[in-house]
C-alpha cells in the first residue's frame, strides 16, 4: 500500500462526491444547494491540487491540470455567489443560482476526468 496514493485518491474522490452533492438538485432552487457543501468541495479540491504539485509523471501532470480546472470552476462559482449577493446587494436571483450550479457542474466533469485518469493509472501500474 502506497500511502501517498491512498491520500491522493481519497481527496480526488471526496472532491468528486462533494461536488456531486452540491450539483444535484433543481438548478434554480437555492434550497437544493448547500453552501457548506460548496465550501468543502473548494477546500478539498485545492488540497487535491496541491498534492499533485511537483509530480513530473505524465499522468501526474494530467491530474494536476484537471484538478486545476475543477478549482477554477468552483472558485468561479463562489465568486459569482459573492458578487450576486454582496456585490449587487440583492437577494440571490434564479439566474445567478443557475450560473453557480452550472459552474459547479463543469467542475464535476473535471473531477470525473481526474477519477478516470486515476483509475487508468492504477490499472496500468499493477504489480
Amino acid at each position: 500500500m502506497h500511502s501517498e496514493r491512498v491520500i491522493f485518491a481519497f481527496f480526488i474522490l471526496l472532491a468528486l462526491t462533494l461536488n456531486f452533492g452540491f450539483f444535484i438538485g433543481d438548478m434554480t432552487n437555492p434550497d437544493h444547494h448547500n453552501v457548506f457543501e460548496l465550501f468543502a468541495a473548494v477546500v478539498v479540491s485545492i488540497i487535491a491540487t496541491v498534492l499533485k504539485f511537483g509530480d513530473k509523471s505524465h499522468v501526474g501532470t494530467m491530474l494536476l491540470a484537471s484538478s486545476l480546472v475543477a478549482d477554477l470552476q468552483l472558485i468561479a462559482a463562489c465568486i459569482v455567489w459573492g458578487v450576486a449577493v454582496y456585490g449587487l446587494e440583492q437577494p440571490l436571483s434564479d439566474h445567478a443560482m443557475a450560473s453557480i450550479v452550472s459552474l459547479s457542474g463543469g467542475a464535476l466533469l473535471a473531477n470525473v476526468v481526474s477519477v478516470v485518469l486515476l483509475a487508468v493509472e492504477t490499472s496500468v501500474h499493477r504489480r
Binding site: F36, F39, I46, I47, V50, F53, G54, C78, Y86
Partner: protein
C-alpha cells in the same frame, strides 16, 4: 526552469496544504459560531464575511471585529485562529526560504542559468574541461582571438576565478562547476549544440580526459576532440577511438628542446607561429651542445633525457626517485639542491643544467645553486604553477618549461590555424638555412610582437569580390592580395607561408602564382594587416585598384559619364 519549478512545488506541498486546512477550519468556525448583531439579535456570519475576516486576520492586518462586535465564543475562536494562521504562514515562508538557501536549489538555479547562457551563444564554440592554469591561459587566448568557449570545471573556486576573469574577456564565458566525467554536465555545456566545434579535455586527471573524449565522440560525431594525456598508454587509448589530437604535456617541451638543439632557426619559427597573439618578440636563446645535468627523473625528466641522448649529448641525472625506471649510468641519487651534489655530478664541465623536478621551489633552488657554483651555465627550469611566474622571471632562467603555457599554445594553434600545423610539418623537412631565411623575412614584417598567422579562404561567403573576379575570368595573383590598398606600389608586411589547393599543399607559394577558387592561403605578419586584407577581398573597387592600378568611379553618374560598366560583383562595397 522546469526542474526548479517542480522542486519548489514539491517542497511546498505540505506547507500549502497546512495553510489551506488552517484557513478552511478558521472560516468554517466563524460560519458555525453564532454571533449577535448591534441590537442583540442572534446572527450567523456567512461565508463571504467569514473569508473576509479570516483573510485580514490571518495576514495580521486587523480591521477589527466585522460586521458586528464579536461575542465571547467568537473571540475565543479568533484567539485560536490567530495563532494557527500565523504558524501556518511562518511554516510556509520558512520552508520557502530554506529551499532557496539550500545548496541543491542553488545548484539547480546555477545549472539552469548556465544552460541558458550556453544556448544563447550563436557562434561556434569549444567546450573546455578543466580550468586550471592551462585552461585559464587557453580561455584567455581563445577569447582574444574571437573564439567562444564554455568551461566545465570541478572546483567551485576555479569557476569563481573564471567569473572574475570575465571582466577582461571580450564576451561572457559560461562556467559550470561540475565533474567533466559526468556526461550530463557535458550535455548541459552544449555538447550536442550545432554550434559546438570541439571539446578540449585538459583536466589533470587522465581518466577524466579519457571519459570526456569517449563521451564526446559517442554523443556528437561531428566535433573535434583535443585531449591532454599524461601517460602514453592513455594517449594511445584516446587515439584508438579517433580522438583528433592527443597532447602529451611532457613531450611538447622535449620536442622543442630537441629542435632547439638541432635546428635552432626552425625552433624559433615554431615558437613564433605557435605563440598566442601579443607575445613580445624576444632575443632567441639557443641551448648549447655539451654536457648536461638533469635534475629529476619523472615523466618530464625521462622525455628530456631521451631527447638529449638522441642528440648524442652526455647527460648526468640527479634524482631521488627514478619512478620505476632503471637509473642511467653515473646517476647521482639526491635532489640536487646542494652545491656539493652538483659538483659531484660534474657541474664544472657541464654546459647546462635542467631543473626538472615537479616542485617549483626545488627547481629554483637548483638553478640558483648551480649559478653560484658555475656562472656560465645554460639553465632550463620546469615550472608547474603559473602563480610562480614572477619568481621564475626574476631568476633569469634561459628557458622555462611551463606546461600550462605550452599546452595552451599548442592547442591554440591547432584550433585557430590548423594550416599552421601543416606548414610546420612541411617546414621541418626543409634545411636549416631555409628556416633562417624565412625568419629574416618575418622579422622585417613585425615590430614588437611575434608574427601572427591567419588563413584566407577564397570562397563566395568569405571573399565575394574575389569570386566575382574569377567569374569574369580575371587572373588574380597572390602578390595582388599582398599589396597595400592605399598605395599598390607598397607591399603589406606579410609572408604567404602555405597555399592549400585541394589536397595539395605548396610551401612558400610563388607570389606570381595565379589563385583559384577555394584556395586557402596561410599568411604570417603584423596582426593589423589581417583586417585590411579581408577588406580588400570583399570590395570590388579595392581589388580592381590593386590589380590594374586604376581608381574606377563608384557613383552611377560618373560611371555613366566615363562610359564605365558597373563592377561585376553585386555585393556591397565595405570600406
Amino acid at each position: 526552469m522546469p526542474n526548479i519549478f517542480f522542486l519548489v512545488m514539491r517542497r511546498m506541498r505540505v506547507p500549502l496544504i497546512l495553510l489551506v486546512v488552517v484557513y478552511a477550519v478558521s472560516v468554517l468556525g466563524f460560519v458555525l459560531i453564532p454571533g449577535r448583531d448591534d441590537s442583540g439579535v442572534p446572527y450567523v456570519m456567512d461565508f463571504f464575511h467569514a473569508i473576509y475576516f479570516v483573510s485580514y486576520m490571518g495576514s495580521t492586518i486587523g480591521f477589527g471585529e466585522l460586521p458586528y462586535a464579536f461575542t465571547g465564543a467568537q473571540r475565543l475562536w479568533t484567539l485560536f485562529t490567530i495563532y494557527a494562521t500565523v504558524i501556518a504562514w511562518l511554516y510556509c515562508i520558512g520552508t520557502l526560504i530554506a529551499l532557496v538557501q539550500s545548496p541543491m536549489f542553488r545548484a539547480a538555479v546555477t545549472r539552469h542559468g548556465f544552460t541558458r547562457q550556453v544556448a544563447r551563444i550563436r557562434e561556434p564554440f569549444h567546450i573546455i574541461c578543466g580550468y586550471g592554469d592551462t585552461g585559464q591561459a587557453l580561455v584567455r587566448a581563445l577569447a582574444d582571438s574571437g573564439n567562444h568557449c564554455v568551461v566545465v570545471e570541478k572546483s567551485v573556486d576555479r569557476v569563481n576565478e573564471l567569473e572574475l576573469e570575465l571582466a577582461v574577456l571580450p564576451f561572457p564565458v559560461p562556467g559550470l562547476a561540475a565533474d567533466a566525467a559526468d556526461t550530463q554536465a557535458l550535455l548541459d555545456a552544449g555538447l550536442r549544440s550545432p554550434f559546438c566545434n570541439g571539446v578540449i579535455a585538459i583536466t589533470r586527471d587522465d581518466q577524466v580526459n579519457l571519459k570526456v573524449a569517449i563521451a564526446s565522440k559517442l554523443l556528437n560525431r561531428d566535433i573535434k576532440v583535443y585531449c591532454r594525456a599524461e601517460s602514453h598508454d592513455t594517449g594511445a587509448n584516446m587515439a584508438s577511438f579517433d580522438t583528433d589530437h592527443v597532447i602529451h604535456p611532457y613531450d611538447i617541451f622535449s620536442e622543442y628542446l630537441s629542435s632547439a638543439l638541432s635546428t635552432p632557426s626552425f625552433y624559433l619559427l615554431e615558437q613564433w607561429l605557435s605563440s598566442p597573439p601579443g607575445t613580445p618578440l624576444v632575443e632567441p636563446v639557443f641551448p648549447p651542445s655539451g654536457k648536461w645535468l638533469l635534475c629529476g627523473f619523472g615523466r618530464f625528466g625521462k622525455a628530456v633525457h631521451e631527447k638529449l641522448l638522441a642528440h648524442g649529448l652526455p647527460v648526468t641525472v640527479i634524482a631521488e626517485d627514478f619512478h620505476g625506471a632503471e637509473p642511467p649510468e653515473g646517476s647521482v641519487i639526491d635532489t640536487g639542491t646542494e652545491a656539493d651534489v652538483l659538483q659531484a655530478a660534474g657541474i664544472d664541465e657541464a654546459a647546462g643544467v635542467i631543473a626538472g623536478t615537479d616542485h617549483d621551489v626545488n627547481n629554483l633552488s637548483i638553478i640558483m645553486t648551480a649559478r653560484q657554483v658555475k656562472h656560465e651555465l645554460f639553465c632550463i627550469a620546469r615550472q608547474e604553477r603559473t602563480s610562480n611566474d614572477h619568481i621564475f622571471e626574476a631568476a633569469g632562467i634561459d628557458l622555462v618549461s611551463n606546461h600550462s603555457r605550452l599546452i595552451a599554445g599548442a592547442l591554440l594553434s591547432l584550433i585557430n590555424t590548423p594550416l599552421t600545423a601543416d606548414f610546420l610539418r612541411l617546414a621541418s623537412q626543409q634545411p636549416e638555412e631555409w628556416s633562417r631565411l624565412l625568419i629574416c623575412r618575418l622579422v622585417g614584417c613585425v615590430d614588437e610582437d611575434t608574427p601572427s598567422t591567419w588563413v584566407m579562404t577564397l570562397r563566395p561567403e568569405r571573399t565575394p569580390a574575389v569570386m566575382a573576379l574569377f567569374a569574369d575570368g580575371v587572373t588574380l595573383k597572390l602578390h595582388h592580395l599582398m599589396r597595400n590598398p592605399e598605395n599598390r606600389k607598397k607591399r603589406l608586411p606579410c609572408v604567404a607561408l602555405l597555399l592549400q589547393r585541394g589536397r595539395e599543399r605548396i610551401l612558400l607559394p610563388d607570389e606570381d602564382a595565379a589563385l583559384e577558387a577555394h584556395d586557402r592561403i596561410l599568411f604570417a605578419g603584423d596582426p593589423r594587416i589581417k583586417r585590411r586584407m579581408v577588406n580588400v577581398t570583399t570590395s570590388p573597387y579595392l581589388l580592381d585598384y590593386l590589380i590594374t592600378g586604376a581608381n574606377r568611379p563608384r557613383g552611377t553618374l560618373l560611371r555613366w559619364l566615363r562610359n564605365d560598366p558597373a563592377p561585376s560583383s553585386g555585393d556591397s562595397d565595405r570600406p
